[in-house]
């Protein structure tokens, strides 16, 4: 594998700043949908479907409170994924944005890390919007968060964001056509969304939990659900460690795949 050449974090930050400059132009327009989507799911699924659900919500009293942390994890996943899929592909292949960056002291490793930081920022924007709404519900008398563990949720969201940003970046480094992203979303992210304990315990299916254990969102959901209830036991610890380990491996692999792909 091509050697990686080390990251200049100041330049990675400069890449982040470029994205922020573009985002800031329309940020008031961009930020609102981040609040609508959670509300839609919480009301539709939580209150709508939840009306018929009475059992199996291990520990929490309402279906609404059961699905809320998982939905928050999924929103962090989505926030990170958009940035490193369509957006990054366009900058790579159509707009030639990275070609321009690379003609300065910026190296491909700085770009990959800058985009990663930006994707995590987007994941946090999505996830924190969700968290604000959950806190609002809780204060209004519909408990969805309990105890100080909720304060660690931003960290969990950042970890989920990092994980999915790296997975998306790896995919983007491999694809040659933008059409393949529909598969990434429908055959990868959507199944994760459905089968990662967000809406129902996945052990409802034979080997469900065993298979899900090997997939990333399952751990994201387990961690956010635990923290929302201020629970940090073995399960949560294992899930955090699982995500950190996969992130570490991808942090090694991803910059190298980009160097090999770009500098030919």
């Amino acid at each position: 594998m091509a050697p990686s050449r080390g990251v200049d974090w100041r330049l990675a930050w400069a890449v982040w700043m470029r994205n922020f400059t573009v985002y800031r132009r329309t940020w008031t327009l961009n930020i609102l949908p981040n609040f609508f989507e959670p509300l839609l799911y919480l009301v539709g699924m939580g209150l709508g479907v939840g009306f018929y659900v009475r059992e199996g919500m291990n520990g929490v009293s309402t279906y609404l409170a059961f699905i809320a942390p998982g939905l928050m994890a999924a929103s962090a996943m989505n926030g990170a994924s958009f940035e490193v899929t369509y957006n990054m592909f366009v900058k790579l292949h159509f707009a030639k944005t990275y070609d321009a960056f690379l003609s300065t002291p910026v190296q491909i490793e700085d770009i990959v890390m800058g985009e990663l930081l930006w994707a995590v920022t987007r994941a946090l924007i999505y996830g924190l919007a969700f968290l604000v709404i959950l806190a609002g519900f809780t204060l209004a008398g519909t408990p969805m968060l309990s105890g100080p563990g909720a304060l660690a949720l931003p960290l969990a969201l950042a970890l989920i964001g990092t994980l999915f940003a790296l997975i998306g970046q790896l995919f983007t480094s491999k694809v040659n056509t933008i059409d393949l992203y529909s598969y990434y979303f429908t055959l990868w992210l959507s199944p994760l969304f459905i089968f990662s304990n967000v809406f129902f315990p996945v052990d409802r299916f034979p080997y469900g939990a065993q298979i899900a254990w090997f997939t990333p969102l399952y751990h994201g959901v387990r961690l956010t659900r635990g923290l929302a209830q201020s629970r940090f036991g073995t399960e949560e610890l294992v899930s955090a460690a699982w995500m950190i380990a996969v992130c570490a491996a991808l942090l090694w692999i991803v910059p190298r795949t980009y160097r090999r792909r770009i500098i030919r």
Partner: protein, 309 residues
């Protein structure tokens, strides 16, 4: 004393099994405008990309500002000292001219006050002050190119690489850009320029190489190349459907060399007056004109093809 800022020996670029740059040698001196003249697909962009470290070197050596570039270990240092105006428009379309420059100022790690000062300076140099707040996507081709040049100069580079800077521009914008580039030349900037316009190469370049199919086929100053490869003047006679009229055969004896193109007969000579007079006598209804030879003729002489289609 000619200090070499770039020295290439046996430089090679391959894409799979295809060799785009096939073992070329050249030196670029500090303070000169050095040109790469060649048709589309000759390998100009590939060579530029190796120089500004966007592409790997697949063979040979490439010294840039005293560093060996081929192994990639000094890329950051080299890139900090080379400004690039790429062939395609890769400005950030959603950002203003000024914002585009601000983004790059961070890449060159300019402290903020210095960045602001430098950006003002460059907007002025390239006559972009009035467009500073226009979004890149709203600019004309010429203004975009000027913005790219300002961007390329932001890091105060020792070498400015311009890949086909006037391709796609209208004649007015081309002349305007030539004027900007001449202003840079007067400030002793080292310019590296590719073009497939021979008049551009002749006008701007102190020295140049003619490149075709990845190989250098001629090198020197425009005047040297013309003196070495072609006679001083050429007489052009209009042809219809590539057929050389029998009357023209007589003229051929008076020319040093003859080229038959689809639409013109070219008669190379030391003096044209006699040929013109004879042509007017033998073929009064055909247009004939005399002109001084150019790099276009040099290219035709060496490759047997025309440079611009």
């Amino acid at each position: 004393m000619n200090e070499n800022v770039i020295a290439a020996r046996g430089l090679i670029k391959r894409y799979g099994t295809f060799t785009a740059v096939d073992g070329i040698d050249f030196d670029v001196h500090r303070g000169e405008c050095f040109g790469f003249l060649g048709p589309n697909g000759a390998g100009k962009t590939s060579t530029m990309r190796m120089i500004y470290r966007a592409a790997a070197v697949d063979g040979g050596t490439l010294m840039i500002l005293g560093w060996e570039a081929a192994d990639g270990r000094h890329d950051r240092a080299i890139k900090a000292r080379i400004g690039v105006v790429p062939q395609e428009d890769n400005l950030d379309q959603e950002l203003s001219v000024r914002q585009n420059l601000e983004v790059f100022a961070r890449f060159y790690k300019l402290p903020r006050p210095e960045a602001a000062r430098r950006i003002d300076e460059l907007l002025k140099l390239l006559r972009l002050e009035e467009k500073a707040h226009s979004r890149a996507e709203q600019l004309s081709g010429g203004l975009k190119r000027r913005t790219q040049i300002a961007r390329g100069l932001l890091g105060t580079p020792e070498i400015l690489v311009l890949d086909e800077p006037t391709t796609g521009l209208d004649p007015q914008a081309r002349h305007d850009l030539w004027e900007r580039l001449n202003a840079l030349k007067r400030q002793q900037a080292t310019l590296l320029l590719t073009t497939h316009y021979m008049d551009e190469a002749e006008r701007l370049c102190d020295r140049l190489v003619v490149i075709d199919h990845g190989k250098i086929v001629a090198a020197g100053s425009p005047a040297e190349l013309i003196a070495r490869h072609v006679s001083p003047v050429v007489v052009e006679i209009e042809l219809t459907d590539g057929a050389v009229p029998t009357e023209a055969e007589a003229l051929k004896q008076h020319a040093r060399r003859v080229e038959v193109l689809s639409d013109r007969l070219l008669l190379y000579a030391d003096h044209g007056e006699q040929l013109i007079a004879q042509a007017a006598h033998l073929m009064p209804d055909r247009r004939a004109l005399q002109r001084r030879t150019t790099l276009e003729d040099v290219f035709l002489r060496i490759t047997g093809r025309r440079l611009e289609e």
